[in-house]
Amino acid sequence: MISSQQAKQRLCVGRACWCLLVYLCLYPSFAWSANTVLVVLDTGNRIHQSVLRHFRELANASLAPESAVEIRSLDFNQHKAEETPEAGLIITIGVRAAAELQNHPVDVPVLNVLIPQDAYRQMISAARRETAAVFLDQPIERQFAVAHTLLPTVHEAGMLLGSESSADIASFARAAGRFSLDLDVVTLDRGASPASAIQKLLTSNQVIVSTFDREAYQPATAKWLMYLALRQQRPIIGFSYALLEAGAAASVFSTPEDIARHTADIVADWVHTGIAPTGTAFPRYYNIGINARIADKLGLDAPSEKVLEQRVRTLLGETP
């Protein structure tokens, strides 16, 4: 026979177990959604993995332990198949993940990193809402600053642009002017021979400043630009490490670690402020490289990369 007291005790224990069970069931969802960052990426992409790895290393570095965020990753393909888990912030790495989140929107702030500026623009123009983004591209000022720093006596800078970039020419010219450079923009028309445009560009300019333009910098065009520029002793200031390797005298570029670091800064701000990131930005962190071989062939008196970077940052007004 069970006594009433014993029955009460038994009832209390049952209630306690039930409550614990509910807590346990509810606690993860609560805890997960509070400071949880979901990184959506192409897990098969080596660069994405690199960005993720660096992000994991850097995200909590500037946070107090109690503010630490939980970083979870999800392949963008899985995001399609299942319901997106609860998270405080979703970071997409790459264009495809960003496009996936745009196609399947969630009620969670989204930060797109490692995405070209023009791709982001195209995506935003077609999307229902705007997301925060960190671009792949470097701001053009950085190239002009490098050009000016490396070739302080040069004042004629040229740019090869496609017809679709004509809207940016004014801003580019202004930016060049800040560094005492006269910008000569040569537009490459669709279907026209790039050779003549390149010849024109190289003939009338002492330094070529490049920016990513899908019309102007087709692989064949870029190759011959590099070839002819070298033959005509015209230094090119590039916008990527690949361009530096291809023959640019100097180039400005960001690495996956730079991107991860910039992202970690944004996440830290979100944790500290509780305000979801907004707006777009060029990579905060960047590098300046010099192709010593090309520089030597061109007869440039190039400083070391570190010195050049300091001078550029100084020129740009950035804190070293």
């Binding site: 790459g94 264009v95 792949l136 050779a195 692989p219 011959w224 690949a242």
Partner: protein
């Protein structure tokens, strides 16, 4: 399987060569093929790669020019490409396969179309044409290219599309030159490799095969029986072991073989000796068989010849006997009888030859050793056969050299018989010319003295092929000679046997058609005696001229005259005789001239002329020597006191007597001289004749007394013994068949009585094999004589006892005609009666089949039947043997009648002569 057999037929050298060369050749060929093919492929590949590289470079080099549509730039690039030696043509086509620019001799339109279609169909181009699409190559300028999908989506297809084509056509000259070089070098390498490998294989193969071949050679030699064969061990290793092993094996084999041979030699030595002995026996038997066959053939020939020799005179005898039986004129009958006698004499001669040969062959004749005068013997022979030569008008010359000894020791009778046979033959076989009997003394190679007695003639000669068997019995040089000259063919055989019996020899030199020379060589027994030395006496140193056309005759006379110390001149030309005589008259004329007249000169006219011519120049003594026995000088010659004559050949004694005869003495007639000189050869000899047959006894008495002997008779053995013991007999003739005591026993008793002083005792027997009857009694007799007794032989033997040799005439066992005329009448009267009595006795004994009595009566008959000298009876007597017992009775009867008939005829003949 065929191939295996085919290869099996190869030698080891070939196999090794195939083994060594074939794999190398195959490997070399395959390697060379592979190497060549690989190199050719490399050349082709190189050409292709080179062309593709050029095209690729052209594509790369012209990419910018094509992008920029910079045709001059294309031209520059193309010119660089076209300068490549392999490139024949290079061009750049746009993406629509239109030639934008080209260099070199481009392909024709058809080929261009083919290239275009090949490019469109993405298949292979025509040979030596290569193309590379000119594409725009990618250059990624972004660091995160995957984040720029629009870059690939929008521009990738256009940017990587084909701008055009770089086409190159290469020439194959260089490649072909390389191919030729490769093929040449490959062929050269192959040939050198094959040759080198073959040479190496040959050298290595030789090191393998040579020792094997050496071993094989040695094995073949060993297999062939040459166990001394060895391998020259020069190899090492296994072959060296094999060579050494083979040599050791061969050595072992040789040792074993030698050991085996030694054993076999020992085992078969005796057998071989036996076989050798048997072979020798067989050889001897074969020789004997050959001899027997030859003898058989000779005997057959002889029988045929004898048949002829016997039947011919027998036919004459029978024929003339029938004529006599038929009767006729007395003159004709006498002639028939003489013919029958001649024929019977021929028969007797034949039979005597046979008998003597048989005696010689049986060794029945013995040789005496008596001193005798060879000169006398030769002169007797010449004197005896001179008439025979005269009949044939032949010169019979006796040439005696003066170194001959005065006496010799030997058997004069046998020697005389041998010489007579040869001279007789020489005369017989010579038709013209001369017969020379030459005696000389010579020294043989051993230094011993010999006497050579040569009989040379100018007769028919003997063929060289026939000379080898001329001395064989029953042989004459050929059958034609037998037919032409007759004869038994035993004469030379008998002569040779006689010479051999006298320890001499006989040789023949003859030339067919020119003549023969038989030389008897005798040991010169008694040659220590001085040579002939005779004093010349009164005519010593006289000057004498000898003329004879026959040079041998001149030499003969000169030798004799020189022996007598005469000064001899001789010539064979009559004119020279006259000249020499004329010349001599001025310086001293010849004392004596001897003219030997040839048969041609013996004509009366010639001799008359000779005498006339000679006497005009020479008045001295003249001696004529003629060939005719009864010759008389013609006309005036008979009254010539200084002329004397004699018959050629003249004895020395006769010649000396002629020389001694003073002029005016009685002219020595040849015949009368011979008669006067004939001595009684048994003068004063005391002879005892023991003979039971009266006729035989009387005949012996007559013969002996004719020679001056004194004869006593004994009719039985006992009487003979008594008479002999009384003594005084110089010789006893003892018949073997005597009554009371037979002859042998009587002789033994006489010898027992006298001992060594016993007189010579001669056995008389009618048996041809007289010695058989002397068996056991040889020591009792000094000699034996065959009945019927040959008078000359009897006198000759007895005269030897007197130390005076008288040569015996050719033995005919016939009583000479001159003696037959003088036979006592009693012999004539009793002869026939006795023969008939004995024939009847034989017949009676035959009927009684009493062999002993038949033998005794036959012996008596044989002893008496030939005593009258009748030739036919002598022949018949030889058939009186014990064989009559085995003869058919009718034949025996006929034979005995024949004997009786012959005896009757003989008796008539004897009576007729009286």
């Amino acid at each position: 399987m065929k191939s295996t057999g085919f290869f099996r037929s190869f030698g080891i050298r070939a196999r090794v060569m195939i083994l060594a060369v074939l794999p190398i050749a195959i490997v070399t060929t395959l390697l060379t093929y592979n190497f060549t093919a690989s190199r050719l492929h490399d050349v082709e590949l190189g050409l292709t790669e080179r062309a593709m590289l050029i095209a690729r470079n052209l594509a790369l080099g012209s990419e910018f020019a094509l992008v920029s549509r910079n045709v001059p730039l294309m031209g520059n690039v193309l010119q660089h490409v076209a300068n490549e030696p392999e490139v024949q043509w290079a061009g750049i086509w746009d993406r629509e396969q239109r030639v934008m620019i080209s260099r070199g001799a481009g392909p024709d339109r058809a080929k261009t179309n083919e290239i275009v279609s090949a490019i469109e169909a993405n298949r292979g181009l025509p040979p030596d044409c290569y193309y590379v699409p000119i594409r725009i190559s990618d250059l990624d300028l972004t660091d995160f290219s995957e984040e720029y999908p629009s870059q690939h989506m929008n521009g990738s297809s256009d940017l990587t599309k084909v701008l055009g084509f770089a086409v190159v056509e290469v020439g194959r000259e260089k490649a072909n030159a390389q191919r030729v070089e490769i093929l040449s070098s490959s062929v050269l390498i192959t040939v050198v490799g094959l040759f080198g490998s073959a040479l190496l294989a040959l050298l290595i193969g030789n090191t393998i095969t040579e020792p094997i071949i050496r071993v094989l050679k040695a094995v073949r030699e060993l297999r062939g029986g040459n166990l001394a064969a060895r391998v020259t061990a020069r190899s090492g290793g296994e072959m060296g072991d094999l060579e050494q092993g083979l040599n050791q094996m061969a050595e072992s084999l040789q040792d074993a073989q030698q050991d085996l041979e030694t054993r076999v030699e020992e085992a078969t030595g005796a057998l071989r000796d036996t076989v050798v002995e048997l072979e020798l026996r067989n050889l001897e038997l074969d020789q004997a068989r050959q001899l027997a066959l030859r003898a058989g053939r000779a005997r057959t020939e002889f029988l045929a010849r004898m048949s002829h020799e016997i039947r011919t005179p027998l036919n004459a005898v029978v024929g003339f006997a029938k004529l006599l039986e038929a009767g006729g004129r007395p003159e004709s009958n006498e002639e028939h009888v003489r013919t029958i006698q001649r024929a019977a004499g021929q028969l007797l001669h034949v039979i005597n030859d046979i008998l003597q040969f048989i005696r010689l062959d049986a060794g029945a004749d013995r040789i005496e050793s008596l001193p005798f005068s060879l000169v006398d013997l030769l002169e007797d022979v010449v004197a005896m056969l001179g008439p025979m030569a005269q009949e044939k008008r032949l010169d019979l010359v006796l040439l005696q050299h003066n170194d001959l000894p005065q006496t010799l020791h030997g058997d004069p009778d046998r020697l005389s018989q041998a010489i007579v046979n040869l001279v007789n033959n020489a005369i017989k076989f010579t038709q013209k010319g001369h017969v020379l009997l030459e005696a000389s003394r010579l020294t043989d190679e051993s230094g011993s003295d010999q006497i050579e007695i040569a009989i040379a003639d100018t007769g028919i000669g003997i063929d060289e092929a026939e000379q080898t068997n001329i001395f064989d019995a029953f042989s004459q040089s050929d059958s034609s000679i037998t037919r032409r000259f007759g004869g038994t063919g035993l004469g030379l055989a008998i002569t040779k046997r006689l010479c051999e019996l006298m320890d001499g020899d006989i040789k023949l030199q003859s030339t067919k058609g020119k003549g023969s020379r038989f030389s008897i060589y005798l040991p010169c027994r008694g040659c220590s005696a001085p040579a002939l030395i005779e004093s010349g006496g009164a005519f010593a140193a006289q000057k004498i001229l000898v003329y004879d056309v026959n040079p041998f005759m001149r030499r003969s006379l000169r030798n004799v005259l020189a022996l007598w110390d005469m000064r001899v001149f001789n010539t064979g030309r009559w004119e020279q005789v006259l000249q020499m005589v004329t010349d001599a008259n001025e310086h001293g004329s010849f004392d004596i001239l001897i003219l030997g007249l040839s048969y041609a000169e013996q004509k009366e006219v010639v001799i008359g002329r000779y005498l006339s011519e000679l006497r005009r120049r020479y008045a001295g003594r003249l001696i004529l020597l003629t060939g005719s026995e009864n010759w008389m000088p013609p006309g005036s010659g008979r009254s010539d006191k200084r002329l004397s004559w004699a018959t050629k050949p003249v004895r020395r004694s006769t010649l000396r007597r002629l020389l001694d005869t003073s002029p005016g003495e009685k002219k020595p007639d040849g015949t009368s001289t011979e008669k006067a000189l004939r001595p009684q050869r048994l003068l004063d000899m005391q002879v005892l004749v023991a003979e039971d047959n009266d006729l035989n006894r009387q005949l012996l008495r007559f013969l002996l007394e004719e020679e001056g002997a004194t004869v006593d008779e004994a009719v039985s053995g006992a009487v003979a013994v008594d008479a002999a013991i009384r003594g005084g007999y110089d010789v006893i003739l003892m018949d073997l068949h005597l009554p009371e005591i037979d002859g042998a026993e009587a002789a033994r008793q006489i010898r027992r009585h006298f001992g060594v002083e016993a007189p010579p005792i001669f056995a008389l027997t009618a048996d041809v094999f007289g010695q058989s009857h002397l068996a056991g009694a040889e020591a009792s007799f000094d000699d034996w004589l065959l009945k019927p007794v040959d008078p000359e032989l009897l006198i000759g033997r007895l005269s030897i006892l007197r130390g005076k040799h008288v040569p015996s005439a050719p033995s005919r066992n016939a009583i000479p005609a001159k003696l037959r005329k003088k036979l006592p009448t009693v012999l004539h009267d009793n002869y026939l009666t006795e023969v008939e009595r004995l024939v009847d006795q034989v017949r009676s004994n035959l009927l009684n089949e009493d062999a002993t009595a038949v033998s005794q009566s036959l012996h008596d008959l044989k002893g008496i039947v030939g005593m009258c000298g009748d030739e036919k009876l002598l022949v018949l007597a030889q058939r009186l043997t014990i064989d009559l017992l085995d003869t058919d009775s009718a034949d025996a009867e006929a034979f005995l009648n024949e004997v009786k008939h012959a005896a009757r005829l003989a008796s008539m003949d004897l009576k007729g002569r009286e």
